[in-house]
Amino acid sequence: MITVEGLTRKYGTFTAVDDVSFVCQPGRVTGFLGPNGAGKTTTMRIMVGLTAPTAGRVTIGGHLYQDIPNPGRHVGVLLDASAQHAGRTGREILELGARTMGLDGSRVDEMLELVSLTPGEAKRRLRNYSLGMKQRLGIAHALLGDPSVLILDEPANGLDPAGIRWMRGLLKGYAERGGTVLLSSHLLNEVELIADEMILIGHGKIVAQGDKKSLLAGAKGSGTTFVTALDNQVLAEALQAKGFVVAGAGDGLRVETEPVEVGRTAAEKAIVLTDLRAADGGLEDLFLELTSDTQREGMA
């Protein structure tokens, strides 16, 4: 479990992280979401003691990172996949990590296999790695010590679609086995698919947190529904009778309410629905809205 309490980091007069508090639970993937420069990386760097906080603190499983002996065995960290010596081979980089943590050499081969780096690729020097290969190596490095907590900064960065799907499965499985995962991204779609819990940060401040459902429920203008019925006309009238705003959209209707209200209305009137879903982009709108400086104008 990661506990962030009142974390603040100032650079001169600029506040990069502003009184941030949240908790990452074991068994769940927590997505840390925010636009460029929001303070995600800074927060994660403070977590592992690479940057000192101006105020507040982070504990991992009840300990300050600095107090964890051989921390690589407990906390897997990937902050910047290219922060490795360009002249070392991928294998050598993992080898150094494994030796520092006091692990068997066989662990290196296991990890290389896990992230699908071939023996040939593992022999190449890091400067000749593609972005995605560096990222895979970084993930392998984070997993080396079989940690129970993972802190990953934009782990999907540079991965191909198959790689992203693989990573999603990997992290989900990891959390299901009781691990704590915190991963950051500025891509909503990516996080939406992996994360059980989301923390939204903008300009150094937490603007929203919770699971996807509760976030959407709290969003302004949330609850736009697309619905298609066998008889759209009847459904539209029934909804309007209840006072909902209805408009035509493609083959169906766009209703300014929650899907549950639409479904209830349909059930009451015994109308057969062929499609019912929350309007796409609801979360994306929310994200942009919450993290935008010019909230209202920006959302017009």
């Binding site: 479990m1 639970q25 074991p26 068994g27 760097r45 592992v48 003691g49 690479l50 940057t51 000192a52 991992i60 499983g61 009840g62 300990h63 990172y65 600095q66 107090d67 964890i68 002996p69 051989n70 921390p71 690589g72 065995r73 407990h74 960290v77 902050l79 910047d80 290219s82 922060a83 490795q84 010596h85 360009a86 002249g87 070392r88 050598e92 150094l96 990590g97 030796r99 520092t100 943590m101 006091g102 490095h141 129970s148 907590v149 009781g178």
Partner: protein, 267 residues
Amino acid sequence: MSATTPALGHALDISTTRPTPFSRLVRVELRKSYDTRASFWLLMVIGLIVLATEVIVLIVTTVNDESIQFGDFIGAAAFMTSFLLPVLGIMLVTSEWGQRTAMVTFALEPRRPRVIAAKAVVGVLLTLATVVVAIVLGLVCNLVYGAIQGDADWTFGWAGFFAFIVNQTFAMLGGFALAALLLNTAGAIVVFFIYKWVLPILIGIGAALMAWFDKLAPWIDFLSAQNELYDWPLTGDQWAHLVVSGFIWLVIPIVIGVWRILRAEVK
């Protein structure tokens, strides 16, 4: 609360994890000192220069039919390595910063002074290895000299040997200290060579021009203080000079450098 309550998984059980032993850090740092092309070739070049120097001394002395002692071979090698060992000390520190690997190193061992100490130990070990190479090659050269000239002089003063090791180690640590202070390869090399070549001249000029400075000079001239070691044993004054100037040129930069590394945001 019963004693059999299973762990909730919220707390990290660190009771069975042993801290990373210092010896392991040293072994990892030693490996880092030769596992890239740049670091490997620096070590190779040091070895090759020792070899080349002693062979040239051998050739020149035999061709000119000059007499030479065992210790002279090593002295010549020591003169050459006193240029390269500081660079080794510098690279041990700065390769970590220039390549940003410090992020990984310090994430795996957040107690940063231990990492710096491990690097210093590696520097001393490599310096001692250089000393051994210089002595073994000097031995071979002197044997060859003896075979050619019919007679080898095995004089090798213990004072000279001791001074040689201390000199070389201080040279390496001098580079190490400046690198810790500046965290920049080029800067540390430039400052080191100013310290080694320009500063003694300035001290000489200053001492010649100003009587008070003449008195001060021995207290700040670390290189001269080290050279006194060749005339073992030292007087009390010489010891004091060595300690004070060594404090200025080794201890102060290392302390400030470590303080800086401790506070630094590792990017």
